[in-house]
């Protein structure tokens, strides 16, 4: 935070010398040591830290992979296999990177769900939220282009299908598509530019992450009660409290990650990507990586024309809208109360929304026939209904539960009730310290 609350006190002559010239150690100390955080943060708040580490891990493994990878349509597939077979610990690098992308998305989705549950997007954190959505967008671009690099069947056909959607836009569509793939079909120019951008975008993400954390440290974190910080006892210093809690969350997360990397490294991928790209042989089913499935389902849910908008363009617009809508969430939610803990109806709608996303994911993985299409359509309806109807209207009609006067009060009252309870009957998960 800004210098006026700074508790940093350089001890040695050298650190004093630095401090009067470039107070970087002071910035770090104030941001990650003395920075006050609400005392009641739970494990849902550890995903931000996990995400930063995952970004670092993707960059680290990615840069080493790039030393061995060959971005040529003749050699890309073989070069990735060469990394897996002949580069020292190449299999580890590649499996860390490929599964790392999946776990990066897992963490970001949980991070976003936390935001939706505790109302983290509400004033004064609108910009913080918007920067987060920008990161999500960049991540999606990065992962999509990364998946093309190993030049397997799904790489090639995924790229062909997804870039093909852009041709749905009237007038400029074909031009955008040709710009993206550098020609009339996915080929060498596509691979080259995707490689270049796949290397660039993570560094842009890192830049936006810095802005995101800056904005965070201006407004401070929300907390499960959604009540603002009012007094000194509401907060605890980042180190050691949040640091150790983040560390615990992270190490559990990494346990699960390690299980996949070492024991099921291909579970989250598609078998067809172990077949080299072949422009003459379309796979039976073209499916994107699991983290794009809900969006893919919404894209394919639009099977009908809407006036001048044909079904293809409608699908593409729906897919883009499904992410763009996140940008305006701060202004869609009209409720005065932040946290879902005190909003009984919103809480139910929120969990339905989570179920809806999982259902859409399932629809995205299935061939679009029969009941799958209808389910995806209903799922899309609820997805947008949640943001565009429930959020604005519910805030006006819902009767929230009584809010605690302060974080301290909420925490202390919990201690009193739990003291009177038999062991084992712990508080609801969202209230747990």
């Amino acid at each position: 935070m800004s210098g006026d609350h700074s508790t940093y006190a350089p001890r040695s002559g050298f650190t004093k010398w630095i401090d009067t010239r470039l107070p970087l150690p002071r910035l770090m100390h104030d941001s990650f040591v003395s920075y006050p955080v609400p005392r009641n943060l739970n494990y849902a708040y550890t995903f931000g830290g996990i995400l930063s580490i995952m970004l670092g891990l993707q960059m680290l493994t990615g840069i080493v992979l790039a030393m061995h990878y060959v971005a040529s349509t003749d050699q890309a597939f073989t070069s990735v296999e060469f990394i897996m077979r002949d580069v020292n610990y190449g299999w580890l690098l590649r499996y860390l990177h490929a599964n790392g992308a999946s776990f990066f998305f897992l963490a970001v989705y949980l991070h976003i769900a936390r935001g939706l549950y505790y109302g983290s997007y509400k004033a004064p954190r609108e910009l913080l939220w918007i920067l987060g959505v920008v990161i999500l967008f960049l991540m999606m671009g990065t992962a999509f282009m990364g998946y093309v690099l190993p030049w397997g069947q799904m790489s090639f056909w995924g790229a062909t299908v997804i870039t093909g959607f852009f041709s749905a836009f009237p007038a400029v569509g074909d031009w955008i598509q040709r710009l993206l793939i550098g020609g009339f079909a996915v080929g060498q120019p596509t691979l080259n530019r995707f490689y270049s951008l796949h290397y660039l975008l993570p560094f842009m993400i890192a830049g936006v992450v810095i802005l995101h954390i800056w904005a965070l440290h201006v407004t401070g974190q929300t907390n499960p009660t959604g009540v603002d910080i009012r007094k000194k006892t509401d907060t605890i210093p980042f180190t050691p409290y949040a640091t150790i809690k983040d560390a615990l969350g992270m190490s559990v997360f990494f346990l699960v990650f390690a299980y996949f990397v070492f024991y099921m490294p291909n579970y989250l991928g598609h078998a067809d990507n172990y077949i080299e790209a072949n422009s003459l042989k379309t796979p039976a089913e073209i499916v994107p990586e699991w983290y794009f499935l809900p969006f893919y389902a919404m894209l394919r849910a639009i099977t009908f024309n809407l006036g001048p908008i044909n079904s293809k363009l409608g699908g593409v617009l729906t897919m883009f809208a499904s992410i763009l809508v996140l940008f305006v969430v701060p202004w869609l939610d009209t409720s005065k109360v932040r946290s879902a803990v005190y909003r009984p109806v919103y809480k139910v709608c929120f969990w339905l929304f989570i179920v809806d996303c999982l259902l859409l994911g399932w629809c995205g993985s299935q061939p679009p026939q029969g009941a799958i299409v209808l389910t995806a359509q209903l799922g899309t309806l609820y997805y947008f209904g949640f943001f565009l109807i429930i959020m604005p209207l519910l805030g006006l009609v819902e009767k929230p539960r009584r809010l605690p006067n302060s974080i301290t009060e909420a925490v202390l009252s919990r201690r009193q009730t739990s003291a009177g309870r038999p062991a084992g009957a712990t508080a609801a998960p969202e209230d747990r310290g």
Binding site: R39, W91, A247, L255, Y263, N266, A271, Q369, G370
Partner: protein
């Protein structure tokens, strides 16, 4: 009113279900039969290669499959993984002719294989391979064990995580090789096609049944049956696709133990630190 809504809901739900039932009838689903799940020596967290099996698999490959299928990404030197000595690998490599060159006159020439050479391919290119096999090129074996996975469906795919089921590829290959049979009555199999309900993308494929009992001699007393050959070649293909699998699982074990201990330590540290707060 309530009744109306209920009726509308019922119709709304019944219509798509009916269309699914109808859809299932006219859109065929492949493979017709799911491959049975076998137990493999390399499955599970402590799986290891059965080197005898890999050696038999190599024998099946060299004597039968290598006439049609390439193994482009495996070098002779990799065969030391199968328990062969350097000399044995040298001898095995020398029994193959590889193309080298160009020489100082600009000509390509044939020479004896060396351990650093890769398995030579039976056809000059995919076009030639397809031309010789009725239009379907026999796929390369280097990654095939990872390139075939029959979907488990819901909720099976969730259970697969906990049962650590990662042998879809070998299960598939075994099922395919042992699954040739007469087509059901009334089904027309086109010329050059062979009915096999386990084939992943159609009811028949262009590969004639490659195995029959006794075609490959085993000198370790293992039964010389199609079933056994199929298991051995599938295990060999798994090794070819994932030569570092055992190393991966061993490393993973150490990493997981480390992380587990680390997590416990952090857990107790966290408890100690938070006990300083008055609300704990």
């Amino acid at each position: 009113m309530k009744k109306l809504v209920a009726a509308a809901l019922a119709i709304g739900l019944a219509a798509p279900l009916a269309s699914v039932a109808a859809g299932a009838a006219d859109i065929p689903h492949y493979p017709i039969k799911d491959p049975p799940r076998l137990s493999w020596s390399f499955a599970g967290p402590f799986g290891t290669w059965d080197k005898g099996q890999l050696q038999r698999g190599l024998k099946v490959y060299t004597e039968v499959c290598s006439g049609c299928h390439s193994l482009n990404m495996v070098a002779f030197r990799n065969l030391t993984d199968l328990g062969y000595s350097e000399d044995q690998v040298k001898g095995f490599a020398a029994s193959h002719q590889v193309t080298d060159g160009p020489n100082d006159q600009g000509e390509m020439f044939k020479r004896q294989g060396k351990p650093n050479d890769y398995f030579p391919a039976p056809f000059a290119n995919t076009e030639a391979a397809a031309y010789a096999n009725g239009g379907a090129a026999p796929p390369d074996f280097s990654t095939i064990a990872k390139a075939r996975a029959v979907e488990s469906g819901f909720p099976g795919f969730v259970f697969d995580i906990f049962t650590m089921y990662t042998t879809k590829g070998p299960d598939y290959v075994h099922a395919l090789l042992t699954g040739y049979q007469d087509p059901p009555k009334g089904m027309r199999v086109p010329q050059g096609g062979y009915y096999n309900p386990y084939f992943h993308s159609a009811a028949f494929l262009k590969m004639p049944p490659p195995l029959s009992d006794g075609v490959v001699k085993y000198d370790d007393g293992t039964p010389e049956t199609v079933d056994q050959y199929a298991k051995d070649i599938a295990a060999f293909q798994m090794w070819a696709a994932e030569p570092h699998m055992v190393e991966r699982k061993e490393t993973g074990f150490v990493v997981i133990i480390f992380l587990a201990i680390f997590t416990v330590l952090i857990y107790y540290t966290k408890k100690a630190i938070y006990s300083r707060l008055d609300d704990h």
